[in-house]
């Protein structure tokens, strides 16, 4: 416990130090990066140890805030979320050191590291806070730090817009959380917002439980990125610097998942519809997320929609787990929670890796537009290999880590299909998960293929250069993590036992018993994939040995005798995805501007002019739900514009009148 608190303190402190050296970019960069790396590593050690041992520690310090107390507690569930937070923040500190160098001199790097390390520390605080006020305070610091990081390049109009959308979304979510904690405190009844007090109030929940759960799903879901609260993700993630997108997408979203799980432990036995709700949200988020991702042209926007998809997969796991608890089917519960929780860690690793890859591409090639890139495999081989590992992992293919967590959820689904009560839920889950996995594979074939394979489509792709050393090391570390969890999956799954036991309220020994079949199946997969990797390695070595004595040259691909192929003849991102987008036209509503090859009277034109084809896929919720809603709010709010007359006298009048009315009201 003390070590984690020390790590949090070190993160905050290094942020302040970086801020104080301020405009001296190089020093601030070094201080901030080292602080993020070392602080996170220190915290990671104890988090892993606590997850493995499953013990609970708590510390209470005096803190004079109404209803607040500085009560921090670590249990297996907190530790499980602390691990990805610390891993990704450490690696992003390393990556950011290289990535931010290019901003040295033109931007205040001290401010960047202040907010980055503040974000890391506040996320860790969110995971260990055990008092409602302390939790909300950490939550708010986290939201504000990430807001300032998103708006790091605030000179651009699109970044400002993204920042506002994010700020509005996060604060609307926090408003729900405020009500939630007040309600929990009201039920607990002794005027304390300590989590310990909430834990003891299971029996008194009654009808409040449903309301509290719904508030948690909306409030925490808006941070986690559940559809339809996801609209800030595809705006904020592309706008932020890449290490920040990696941290936000990889672990900040997960604090929302943590919140839902934590609240679940306060509510006692779950209700049936909670499980169905999470299952439904998971399906919708997963499928819509991956579909929207396929239609994107911006690499980071595409990844942002994949975060929605993966949060959907986590929600599927949690929904299955809740159903298992409700139906007293511990196998379902253990596999559901286990898969969901493991996916939290896995998604942090591979999504962090992918965002770093996208950042390296942006850094090296100068653009994120997929259709302007191509052929980067020759110019950025390291980025390419690590991006490929991340892409395979996110598609849920063995032997990488994405497969392990999805495999657990699949197993739960298949187990559910075999039982009469849970057959429908299991079937829907399996079908949904399979659809999500297939579409994700299509999407990453497109992203990887168009960006890294083929020939450069523009000067951007042609002039690209490989990322710097610290960035490469960071990406390699995460790639190693992805492979490692895949190969050592049986042991990793065993490590999860205490956290699963805590979230499902199932005894630890029983959890290990139910995880054993999954572990043994995973062991077989791991052995086979280990052999596969070994064979690949041997083949690569043989190839290298054979080629070592020869000279190799690269030529154009054989093009059926056509003598002047150009880069424009390759598949574009839109054309590659077109079969899928056409299939889901009804959902995606892609609008395209097709050039016309006929004159106004309808007769065909045989020698058409230069033509342009464009396609846009706008977010349905942003365009058709939130935009009209917020416009209406704005129109309403503008009616009160007259109140802000700009005269000091009027403002004093408002204050005086308010006091006056309150006084009269009190004395009446």
């Amino acid at each position: 416990m003390l070590i984690v608190l020390f790590a949090i303190g070190l993160l905050f402190l290094s942020g302040f130090l970086a801020l104080s050296v301020g405009r001296n970019g190089g020093v601030a960069n070094l201080l901030g990066g080292c602080g993020a790396f070392s602080g996170s590593l220190i915290g990671l050690v104890e988090a892993v140890e606590i997850l493995a041992s499953g013990r609970t520690e708590q510390i209470r310090w005096a803190w004079s805030v109404p209803y607040g107390s500085f009560l921090v507690r670590i249990d297996a569930l907190s530790a499980l979320f602390l691990i990805p937070i610390f891993i990704l923040c450490a690696v992003c500190g390393l990556y950011g050191y290289g990535y931010m160098k290019s901003f040295c001199g033109c931007k205040n790097l001290g401010a960047y590291w202040f907010f980055f390390n503040g974000l890391a520390a506040s996320m860790a605080m969110v995971a260990v806070a055990a008092n409602g006020v302390l939790f909300l305070m950490s939550w708010e610091i986290m939201a504000l730090c990430s807001f300032f990081l998103v708006t790091f390049e605030h000179e651009e109009g699109s970044v400002q817009r993204a920042g506002w959308i994010y700020l509005a979304a996060t604060h609307i979510g926090t408003a729900f959380l405020l009500v939630l904690f007040l309600m929990l405190g009201h039920v607990a009844g002794n005027g304390s917002l300590d989590f310990n007090a909430f834990l003891g109030s299971h029996g008194k929940m009654g009808g409040y439980a449903d309301v509290v759960f719904l508030l948690a799903v909306i409030g925490f879901g808006s941070k986690a990125g559940f559809v339809p609260f996801h609209i800030w993700l595809p705006e904020a993630h592309p706008a932020a610097p890449s290490p920040v997108s990696a941290v936000m997408s990889g672990v900040m979203l997960k604090t929302g998942i943590y919140g839902i799980l934590r609240i679940l432990t306060f509510l006692g036995p779950p209700h049936l519809w909670w499980g169905y709700l999470l299952l439904g949200i998971g399906l919708v988020s997963g499928i819509l997320g991956v579909l929207m991702a396929i239609a994107q042209h911006d690499l980071k926007r595409l990844l942002a929609y994949h975060s929605v998809e993966n949060v959907g997969i986590i929600a599927l796991g949690l929904g299955l787990g809740i159903l298992g608890v409700v139906w007293h089917l511990p196998v379902l519960a253990v596999l559901g929670f286990g898969g969901g929780l493991l996916h939290v860690i896995n998604h942090a690793l591979f999504k962090g890796l992918l965002f770093m890859g996208a950042g390296s591409v942006q850094h090296g090639a100068g653009t994120r537009q997929i259709d302007l890139l191509g052929g980067l495999i020759k110019r950025m081989p390291w980025t390419c290999v690590t991006f490929l590992i991340g892409a395979v992992a996110i598609c849920g293919l063995p032997p990488l880590n994405g497969f392990v967590s999805e495999f657990l959820i699949y197993m739960g689904g298949f187990h559910g299909v075999g039982l009469a009560r849970s057959a429908a839920a299991g079937a829907v889950l399996i079908i949904g998960l399979a659809l999500i996995g297939g579409l994700a594979a299509a999407c990453f074939t497109k992203a990887f293929g168009v960006v890294f394979l083929g020939e450069p489509r523009s000067p951007y792709g042609a002039d690209a250069h490989e990322a710097g050393l610290s960035m490469r090391v960071a990406m390699l570390l995460l790639a190693a993590g992805c492979v490692g969890i895949g190969l050592f999956s049986p042991w990793v799954v065993k490590l999860m036992g205490h956290a699963v036991a805590e979230s499902g309220a199932i005894p630890y020994e029983a959890v290990q018993g139910f995880l054993a079949p999954a572990s043994s199946a995973l062991l077989k997969v791991a052995v086979v994939s280990g052999c596969f990797l070994f064979v690949v390695l041997v083949l690569c070595l043989i190839r290298a040995k054979i080629l070592s004595g020869r000279t190799s040259s690269s030529e154009g691909t054989w093009d059926c005798g056509y003598f002047r192929p150009t880069a424009r003849m390759q598949y574009t991102a839109s054309s590659f995805a077109q079969p899928v987008t056409a299939m889901f036209e009804a959902i995606l509503r892609t609008r395209s501007h097709t050039p016309s090859f006929s004159d106004p009277r309808g007769a065909p034109v045989f020698f058409p002019d230069a033509a342009l084809f464009e396609s846009h896929t706008e977010d349905f919720f942003l365009k058709s739900v939130y935009a009209p809603l917020f416009m209406a709010v704005k129109r309403f709010a503008l009616k009160f514009r007259f109140l802000q007359a700009g005269r000091v006298q009027f403002y004093i009048l408002y204050i005086a009148l308010t006091l006056f009315v309150l006084l009269i009201w009190c004395l009446r």
Binding site: G646, Q649, I652
Partner: protein, 214 residues
């Protein structure tokens, strides 16, 4: 004795009305000065015999500050800032008087309703205090010049002072001294503000600050 207190309080109320109805800044400053002198006399009337020395000291300081020093400061500021001598009200004088009458009625009602820890010396002190606070706020709100805002602030402070006097028997005069210091600081701050406003904007009408709104 009690009759005398009531007369002083009545005159104090009249100075407030004079402040609202006057069209010239210097007349307003004189009204506030008059109010300060009368307020200074008040502790002598409500204080009991064994507190006489303290009451005399308080009274002397109050008269000096509120009756002479502040008005002198303000008159000097008026001269040096070189502004037109009219009030430039945002609410006309007649309607100001009507509102003043309304405020007086409300203050009376407050005086009756407000629960007090100890009974006040005179039933009129509390309404006077409330009326002063309200008139002060009203002057701040309804007059455009920065200097009248200072006047309003002073009148409001007088109200708080009178409120403290209502409990002069049970409360230590430390409170009153605190209030005096408060008012003193406030005049300084306001004086500096006026100086800066008139230097930056070439006048001291606070309503011209609308140019600063977004």
């Amino acid at each position: 004795m009690n009759l005398f207190t009531d007369v002083v309080i009545a005159v104090l109320i009249l100075t407030n009305l004079r402040l609202i109805a006057s069209s010239r800044i210097s007349a307003c400053i004189y009204a506030v000065a008059c109010q300060g002198v009368l307020l200074g006399v008040l502790p002598l009337l409500v204080g009991s015999s064994h507190l006489m020395v303290r009451a005399c000291a308080l009274s002397g300081v109050t008269v000096m500050l509120k009756g002479f020093f502040f008005p002198w400061l303000l008159l000097r500021a008026l001269k040096s800032a070189n502004v037109r001598r009219e009030m430039e009200p945002l609410v006309g004088y007649t309607s100001s008087l009507m509102i003043g009458a309304l405020l007086l009625a409300t203050a009376m009602w407050f005086g009756r309703q407000l629960p007090l820890p100890v009974p006040a010396h005179s039933p009129m002190v509390l309404p006077l205090a409330m009326f002063n606070i309200m008139v002060g706020l009203f002057v701040i709100v309804s007059r455009a010049k920065a200097i009248t805002q200072v006047l309003g602030y002073l009148v409001m402070e007088n109200g708080i002072y009178a409120f403290g006097l209502a409990f002069a028997l049970s409360e230590p005069s430390l409170v009153e001294l605190g209030i005096l210091l408060d008012a003193f600081m406030a005049v300084f701050v306001m004086g500096i503000t006026i100086f800066h406003i008139s230097r930056e904007f070439d006048h001291m009408d606070t309503d011209r600050l609308t140019a600063l709104r977004d």
